[in-house]
Symmetry: C2
Subunit: 410 residues, 2 copies
């Protein structure tokens, strides 16, 4: 079963908005055995939309359309769909009543523009949107089902989850597909490929392998389409994992913070963080996982040296002798953090995130990370690049990868 994605909105093409919707839709429908053949983004331009809808619907059973359903004058997806299908619009009173309720509850003023949102191409099935004003729409065009949804990500996800994914699950045309992802950390993409090269030659040719390197981790996607997909993929994952140890930290949607959470809770230990250059991002990664409060107590973000001394009890002389970005300071930060927050383990980060602030001895991108308990601390120095956001993200993930290693080595 094949599908295509059409994302509508000039903001996507001029780079004002990053299209996260298409990836999410792709992930959801792929797991149901649907193949996305292409994903296209186009501007708010009616003739272009009509042409794209006609072309994309030609070879697929489903077309997912996002965007252009809002109340303002750049929202013209419904017009384009009606024109493609050659139908008129009809007014839907139930939608208007729902919008009135939605606005009243939030204490917002209703605009006359919302009347416009209640017209739909005739023959359209409406898919209720409980998170916003514009409902989704389902319509047939030749042999393809078109599903049109708002571009606001959480509204789209709500409509997909409640209405569209159940529909796909019930569609008997889907074929067997299976997919798993092996997550590795601390090894380069080329070395991953080298390590598994021999194993790949003895696995079925229908098996597909892809490598996805990002911020110090490499994901290996293993997939298969056709009979016995699940067994083929399971067997491959188990063989490849053997070749990739000890770098494998988990599988599938798992993130490094979830792998760490599992280990921390199993070992019944508590954690705190002392952050400088990462500015709260390590703490954010940890607390983005539900249930993190079971082991994570909190953080002291000591952005200034003054606070490193007063809150984390880093010795003023240590900062003077070695600089705030040094092995000695991150070690003292770990000890001070354990003391102040009363946890078993602490993570400390100090570095020069950039883009300025570097010296010859410590250029921008120099980051020290320390993980430890009262008895044992491990320190690593990183030489990253000049991009502030990448440095913050890379070193925050690196801290969690180090913490995992620290826990396994206990």
């Amino acid at each position: 079963m094949k599908a295509a994605i059409l994302a509508i909105g000039t903001e996507l093409l001029i780079g004002q908005t990053i299209d996260t919707n298409s990836a999410w839709i792709g992930e959801q429908v792929t797991s149901l055995g649907v193949t996305i053949t292409q994903s296209l983004a186009i501007p708010d331009d009616k003739p272009v939309m009509i042409q794209a809808i006609k072309r994309l619907t030609r070879d697929v059973q489903y077309l997912f359309v996002t965007g252009g359903l809002g109340p303002t004058r750049d929202d013209i997806t419904k017009d384009a769909l009606a024109e493609t299908l050659g139908v008129e619009m009809r007014y839907d009173q139930a939608t208007y009543d729902r919008i009135v309720t939605y606005f009243t509850r939030r204490g917002l003023a209703l605009s006359h523009l919302h009347k416009e949102q209640c017209y739909f191409p005739i023959g359209t099935q409406l898919l209720e949107n409980t998170m916003g004003t514009a409902p989704g729409m389902l319509m047939k065009y030749n042999d393809c089902s078109i599903i049109s949804m708002p571009g606001v990500p959480y509204e789209m996800k709500e409509i997909m989850s409640r209405h569209v994914l159940p529909l796909l699950r019930a569609d008997q045309r889907s074929i067997t597909y299976s997919q798993r992802t092996i997550h590795t950390a601390g090894i380069a993409e080329s070395s991953v490929a080298d390590r598994i090269a021999d194993t790949l030659t003895i696995l079925p040719p229908s098996l597909e392998i892809a490598y996805l390197p990002t911020l110090g981790t490499v994901k290996v996607r293993v997939s298969n389409r056709g009979p016995q997909s699940e067994a083929i993929v399971e067997d491959a994952v188990s063989r490849l994992t053997d070749q990739l140890q000890p770098y494998v930290y988990g599988y599938d949607g798992l993130q490094i913070q979830e792998a760490v959470q599992r280990l921390m809770i199993e070992s019944n230990l508590t954690l705190s963080t002392a952050e400088s250059c990462t500015g709260g991002y390590i703490s954010h990664l940890i607390t983005s996982t539900p249930g993190s409060s079971a082991y994570y107590q909190g953080s002291i973000i000591a952005y200034s040296n003054r606070l490193k001394e007063s809150l984390l009890k880093v010795n003023a002389k240590t900062i003077q002798d070695h600089g705030a970005v040094s092995e000695q300071v991150v070690k003292e930060m770990v000890k001070g953090c354990i003391e102040a927050l009363g946890t078993d383990i602490a993570i400390a980060a100090s570095g020069i995130a950039g883009p300025t602030g570097g010296t010859e001895a410590k250029p921008v991108g120099t980051v020290y990370l320390c993980i430890g308990n009262k008895e044992r601390q491990i320190v690593r120095k990183f030489g990253l690049n000049k991009n502030r956001i990448i440095n913050i993200r890379y070193s925050s993930r690196a801290a969690l990868i180090m913490l995992r290693k620290f826990l396994l080595d206990q």
Copy 2:
């Protein structure tokens, strides 16, 4: 001047990777007056690639291709390009020498796979990549210039910035285009549209307006193509701003944290944060802006109630009487934070981020935010939804929007 974007990689279609490259390229080239007509993502499939390259190059002067240049066997963009152009591959010794240096410096093992990375379609101009192993490529196909780059975002950006954008700037075919964005906070999309409706009727018909709502803010993009674009856009922005006050907090690429940073530095005040449910994300937003250390001192993330008491001096009885998620507690957090970190102003956040942990009186999504100095505190209560990440991001941005208001009201 027109261009199209082609993003290659099965990971984009199955949702394993969000395509941020296309948005970045779109933003950069739009600002140079180039119109992106479409942005297409396709799988690692050679026939599909060849067909896409042929179709996309038909109506544009530039095609930007990302992805598929790595050392592993799913990286086949170069083959597809050579086949489309009908040329053979040639080996480039200089590239190999560069890869050897790159690996040696990082202490990584060189793989035989990197030899493969040194073959390029004949007639290709190589664009040096200082951030990774695969250089970019520039080639002519009919009347279109194809630029192929690695999919790793910082490698692509480096090649674009150093080689491609200068090329576009020098291209005399570009026409006048101007664009600005007005950022508003605290007002709904439909109300923004209502407020400016009358003004729009008296502005030139060539002017384009788009509305981009996200997490409590609405951006209004104002653009014009054709003669005198800059003057037309400047005039429109000034008129629209008048209609949208006091909700406008800035223009163009500005983020709320940058608007806040400007105000804080102007007023010569220092800031700290006391975070619970936001788990460091407020601090991350603040410190993601270079120069934030000029006013931001740090944070206490008191994820546990114990730390709210020990580090932020929140009264145990206040928590007992009103709960940790309450107006009283966030007020005490602000005061305790100012005390502990010695700043002029503090932000405090406490809430139930979800997806579980709610009660009937305080459902998931209940968040209290407080901004204040020693004398004056303002508190707001939010009823958000059940999505943990969205709740964290929404309330963190809301805190900065509140801080801006607090500073303006001083």
